[in-house]
């Protein structure tokens, strides 16, 4: 057997980052991308903070003229958008991208190139946001972009920057979610059952699933907004049958879970640090249940933001009950942390100080949260500084403080050097005192009549003193982060070496060196309890599959990047996953998207088309199975040992899980579109609008019938594939492709024949949108079916491994297209007769 040094050198050769300037752009390693995410997000955090300080200067005295109203509105729009979209979510994603694989005992994330793609789209999205400053038309309709204020009639090009930049960032959030969900489910160390998983991983799993729904809904909403702005659709125009409240429903269906998407990972950090400092974590099961309850119920709370629009009273008791659930779930977590700390005399080092600061601030913010869930009380404080105070208590208290604690806790692992505890305490106290000085008075300002988003206030409200205090506090609070940056700089230069486990932490990241080696684990660690670094549980029996898998992968594979795949619940080894190395394709696809979006901004739609085709071309190349890789994997010795196959299929494969995530995303998008249709339908006085007749049924029935035929064809193709009948496979595939193409042709013909356009009324806009959505889905599905057919044709002898997987994935997607077609037909053609 190789010795450790030799093995680690061999692994490093295959896992190390690509060298050189250009190599930087092809990195796919999770740790490097995680650091990039965090550094970029922190930079946006500082920019957003500077915007906030400028606003605080303006608000120091009544009727101040330091900023013009225009500038002030731009600043608060950018401050909110930056903090929510460019800082909070990406920062926590970055932390997860870096630490999740290490905590789970894996060598990388499930889809390394997708992580890189996520980073590039995030960066480009952020740059599009800020590019608006150079054009001199900065978004100014608020981070919530309520229509019609955000419509082209009332807002300039800035809102296009906002919508398009946001779309890129959402895309990044969605792919990160897929990444996280599949990694948590498939890349855990052998033996790390769901019940032994660190709480941080539980929170990320919950957040990943939430993001699939929430970010997709927002993506659909921003798409509708941008279509209204550039293509002349009428989704949100009440004068043409659209609805302003539709935007609010869609936005807050994302926006409320968003708060928990930020907050839950922060609670994961808290549980981790509390666990380390009290050398135990009580109530693991209760905490896990609380996380899942919070994640689920958060989707039932969006109307909290819409109490003042005059909702039906009947629905209010439902929302009250949902709020109660959230309060209890949060209460359970808080008491679990107190119970864990109880009597353990934890040493009050900076990481724990920030967590204690979190406890104080978050409990206060939680209490005001219970208050504003109460409808009549919310009627008074809604959109006042009371709300500003509340959500800064829950977002800064609930996310920034844990995050700072997390940074003090984990930076030694990332850099290999300790931070200075004195500077850490200074940073904490500046943050804690500055925070309260800034935001506590805002509760009172709200009571005394200061609305949100005002660039100035009259002297008569009698809140000058509070505003002065808030401004001073804001600068003290800002100073805390300068201390932190100084601390980080000093630590990087002369910091004390951290060693493997400076805090005596219990999770797997503390079992490897600081900073971790490029391949992270020489062999997958076998996990037998919740605290793998604290308790060395006795080894299992000799024949234990986990032990054998760990042995097989010790220092292996060396020719390619490989990681152990385990079963989703019990984490029993299932196979070895090939992971791709450095690649420029993620960057190229993101660049294509960026250029396409910028061209939309400048109305150069031809460029949009070209760039989109380019992006799709690179994507196709990216997804196309590489023959050489498959040949290499097939010939690998590793796959023949201990029953750990390399080319796995079905639910063993990460690709299969990724496809399930993709279908979840597509189903969510379809659901959001259907919701939009029926919401507008419900409030329309006549349907279809402007006295149109309901659509004829016969033609569309034939059109959508072809989709059903193609579904049957695919079923046949699958049977023939399993039976190994080469001719029948080709025959069935041809049937699928032809009927799919027929559907496309008929659908487009149907659109051309329509007696109304998408500009005429909201009904028209919806009709076109649904038809185009199903057509694009069909087109994408046809591309997949076509490529599967070609591959089966050219490699027809192979019906196992990657070919089988491709059949499975293609089938899942095409069956989804057929189901989506049935839904669209029901919505567009049947529902006008029934409802």
């Amino acid at each position: 057997m190789k010795d450790v040094k030799e093995a680690s050198e061999q692994l490093h050769q295959i896992w190390r980052k690509p060298s050189g300037f250009w190599g930087w752009f092809s990195v796919v390693n999770n740790r490097l991308l995680g650091v990039r995410f965090m550094v970029t997000a922190f930079a946006f955090f500082l920019i957003g903070g500077v915007l906030a300080l400028l606003m605080r200067i303006q608000l120091t005295v009544p009727e101040n003229t330091f900023l013009s109203p225009q500038t002030y509105n731009e600043l608060f729009t950018m401050h909110g958008s930056t903090m929510m979209f460019l800082f909070a979510v990406p920062m926590l994603e970055g932390l997860a991208v870096y630490f999740l694989p290490i905590m789970l005992g894996s060598r990388d994330l499930a889809f390394p190139r997708l992580s890189a793609f996520g980073y590039w789209t995030y960066l480009f999205g952020g740059l599009v946001f800020y590019a608006s400053f150079f054009v001199g038309d900065v978004p100014n309709a608020g981070w919530f972009a309520y229509t019609p204020l955000s419509a082209s009639r009332y807002s300039g090009m800035g809102m296009d920057f906002w919508a398009l930049g946001l779309s890129l960032v959402e895309l990044s959030g969605i792919v990160a979610a897929v990444e996280i969900v599949v990694t948590v489910l498939k890349f855990r160390a052998p033996g790390m059952t769901l019940g032994r998983m660190p709480i941080f991983a539980w929170t990320m799993l919950a957040v990943g699933v939430m993001s699939l729904f929430a970010f997709t809904t927002l993506l659909v909403a921003t798409l509708l907004l941008e279509l209204d702005r550039t293509a002349g659709t009428q989704f949100f125009n009440p004068n043409r049958g659209g609805s302003n409240l539709l935007w609010q429903h869609l936005f807050w269906f994302f926006g409320h879970p968003e708060v928990y998407i930020i907050f839950l990972p922060a609670t994961g950090i808290v549980s981790t640090i509390v666990g380390t400092y009290s050398r135990r974590l009580l109530g693991y099961t209760i905490i896990t249940v609380a996380i899942l309850v919070t994640a689920f119920v958060s989707f039932g709370l969006w109307a909290h933001h819409m109490y003042t629009t005059g909702l039906p009273e009947l629905s209010l008791s439902f929302f009250a009950a949902a709020s109660l659930m959230i309060a209890l779930a949060s209460g359970a977590q808080v008491f679990a942390w107190i119970a864990s700390l109880w009597g353990r005399r934890p040493s009050l080092e900076p990481p724990l100080m920030f967590i204690l600061g979190f406890l104080v601030i978050f409990v206060m913010g939680g209490m005001t949260g219970v208050m504003i869930a109460i409808v009549p009380f919310d009627w008074q404080v809604h959109d006042t500084y009371f709300i500003v105070a509340h959500f800064h208590y829950v977002l800064i208290g609930g996310a920034v403080f844990p995050l700072m604690g997390g940074l003090y806790y984990w930076i030694p692992k990332i850099t290999g050097r300790m931070l200075n505890p004195l500077l850490g305490h200074a940073s904490f106290w500046a943050a804690f005192v500055g925070f309260h000085a800034t935001f506590f008075p805002m509760h009172l300002m709200g009571f005394w009549g200061m609305p949100r988003r005002v660039y100035t206030f009259p002297e008569s409200l009698g809140i000058e003193g509070h505003n002065v205090l808030a401004t001073i506090g804001a600068f003290v609070f800002g100073f805390a982060f300068l201390i932190f940056l100084f601390d980080l700089l000093v630590s990087l230069l002369v910091g004390e070496r951290a060693g493997e486990n400076p805090w005596n932490g219990d999770t797997l990241e503390w079992s490897i060196s600081s900073p971790p080696p490029s391949y992270m684990f020489l062999a997958p660690p076998v996990v037998r309890g919740r605290h793998p670094c604290w308790h060395r549980e006795p080894k299992g029996s000799e024949g234990d599959l986990a032990e054998r898998a760990s042995e097989v992968l010790w220092g292996q594979p060396t020719a390619w990047r490989g990681n152990l795949i385990t079963e989703a619940v019990n984490a029993t080894p299932q196979g070895i996953q090939y992971l791709p190395g450095p690649s420029y394709r993620p960057l190229l696809v993101s660049l294509g998207l960026l250029i396409a979006f910028l061209a939309v901004l400048t109305k150069l739609f031809l460029v949009t088309l070209v760039a989109a085709v380019f992006a799709l071309g690179v994507l196709a190349k990216w997804l196309w199975p590489d023959r050489h890789v498959i040949a290499m994997l097939r010939s690998s010795e590793l796959g023949r040992r201990e029953g750990l196959p390399i080319l796995v299929t079905g639910s063993r494969s990460t690709v299969w899980w990724g496809t399930i995530c993709l279908l979840t995303i597509l189903a969510t998008a379809l659901a959001a579109l259907t919701y939009a249709y029926f919401y507008i339908r419900l409030y329309a006085s006549e349907w279809p609008q402007t006295g149109l007749d309901p659509p004829a049924l016969l033609g569309p029935a034939i059109t959508y019938g072809t989709l059903l035929v193609s579904g049957a064809g695919l079923f046949w193709a699958n049977r023939a594939f399993r039976g190994g009948k080469a001719n029948a496979i080709q025959f069935a595939f041809t049937l699928v492709v032809l009927s799919g193409a027929a559907f496309l042709a008929l659908a487009v013909y149907g659109l051309v024949q329509l007696p109304f356009s998408h500009r005429d009324h909201a009904y028209g806009s919806l009709f076109y949108l649904h038809s185009i959505f199903i057509s694009l889905l069909t087109l994408a599905g046809l591309a997949l079916v076509g490529s599967a057919q070609i591959r089966v044709w050219s490699e027809h002898e192979d019906r196992e491994g990657s070919m089988k997987l491709q059949m499975q994935v293609t089938s899942l997607l095409w069956y989804f297209v057929v189901v989506a077609g049935v839904c669209t037909f029901t919505t567009l053609y049947l529902s006008p007769y029934v409802l």
């Binding site: 309520y146 009440p238 008491f335 107190i338 005399r345 109460i374 009549p376 919310d378 009172l444 949100r452």
Partner: protein, 390 residues
């Protein structure tokens, strides 16, 4: 329902059990004092209620603060104990911990929150829209409030007058983007949505002026979209209605205004106007104003400079709809949607260049010689309704 029928039968002040309960919250008197502020007059405070709805919510707040505040303190004390005490528990920590978590984090909060939520729901129900009372239509514009009394045929802007002790129905809608109506001393907020009308209500139980402000971000001058609500005793309110119902400008004047176009005619009209005013209204102050040649010159300048394209003055040919109605602008308490007090100096500055006061407002600067602006302001100030009882 009960509430509204009570209201219909009697205008006497109703008994308010709510207020009696508020006296029980003595322990919070100190906090209350802090929150109420020592500065005395809070013109836009939800904790200084002047009507039943705002009072019920303020009441709710004190209850919430008491209960949730105590719970917060308890959590803080437990946290401090957790950190600084040595653990007396041994091996059974896990079970005791679980009991502690479930009792403190789930059961106790549920026991506290369920009645609290039921109580809050009863408050919500109690704030149900009454079905009687005067109706006022409020239309939000960027960035001012159009106020209409449809039953009385009165149109005004940025000021609402209501009778004390009676609920007033509000019909809220918007002409452009979403706004939100909020007069915290009377009630919470309700959004003004374009394309639909929302029903809301306010009621004042004492006379006074209550400031309100748009609470939904509506663009550039969202900060300067305020209004005043003045609650008057019923007889004064009736007088106000009567005063408003008279045309703002004398009919004769309006005819003159209609016909005048040339400068020569202006001089004639001034003469005619002053004669008319003298003969008809004698010694009244209003009449004096009409008598002034300057007012007449101001009136003609008002039309000559195109003010009527956007503003309406009842009884004249000024019927513009884009800006606030000016029928009794002289009697309004504020200018520019409660941005500045309505003094002569402020009005001069506003007419000359509103952009300097409220940058981005839709009204352009008036390019006219100073004396013409003075005259326009004199004319506008002359537009006052008669307070009969004075």
């Amino acid at each position: 329902m009960l509430k509204s029928s009570l209201l219909a039968e009697s205008s006497l002040p109703r008994p308010r059990p709510v207020r009696r309960r508020s006296l029980q919250l003595v322990p919070w008197a100190g906090v209350a004092l802090l929150l109420s502020g020592c500065q005395g007059d809070r013109v836009q405070s939800s904790l200084h209620p002047a009507g039943p709805a705002a009072e019920a919510v303020a009441q709710l707040w004190w209850v919430l603060l008491t209960i949730l505040g105590l719970y917060t303190l308890a959590v803080f004390v437990l946290t401090a104990l957790a950190i600084f005490r040595r653990n007396p528990l041994g091996r059974r920590a896990r079970y005791q911990g679980r009991a502690f978590i479930l009792v403190g984090g789930v059961i106790l909060p549920a026991v506290i929150l369920v009645p609290l939520l039921i109580y809050s729901l009863t408050t919500t129900v109690a704030l149900h829209q009454p079905d009687t009372g005067l109706t006022i239509r409020v239309v939000g514009h960027r960035w001012w409030w159009e106020i209409e009394y449809p039953g009385q045929g009165i149109v005004t802007a940025n000021e609402i007058y209501i009778p004390v002790g009676e609920p007033v129905q509000l019909e809220l809608t918007s002409a452009d983007v979403i706004h939100s109506f909020w007069v915290p001393q009377l009630h919470g907020k309700r959004d003004l949505l374009p394309g639909q009308t929302s029903a809301f209500w306010i009621e004042a139980e004492r006379a006074g002026v209550f400031r309100g402000q748009c609470a939904e971000f509506c663009g550039l001058q969202h900060a300067h979209m305020a209004l005043t609500v003045e609650a008057l005793p019923p007889e004064e309110f009736a007088a106000w209605i009567a005063g408003q119902q008279r045309p703002g400008d004398a009919p004769a004047d309006s005819e003159l205004a209609d016909s005048e176009l040339a400068d020569s005619e202006v001089a004639d009209s001034e003469l005619a106007d002053s004669e008319l005013a003298d003969s008809e209204l004698g010694d009244s102050e209003v009449a004096d104003r009409y008598a002034s040649p300057r007012v007449a010159a101001g009136r003609s300048a008002f039309f000559r400079h195109g003010c009527a394209a956007c503003h309406a003055i009842a009884g004249t040919r000024a019927v513009g709809q884009a800006g606030p109605d000016l029928t009794y602008i002289g009697s309004r308490p504020t200018l520019g949607a409660a941005t500045i007090p309505n003094t002569r100096k402020n009005l001069l500055a506003w007419v000359a260049n509103p952009q300097a006061i409220k940058p981005g407002v839709n009204m352009p600067p008036t390019h006219a010689p100073a004396e013409e602006i003075e005259a326009i302001v004199s004319y506008l100030q002359s537009l006052q309704y008669e307070r009969e009882e004075e």
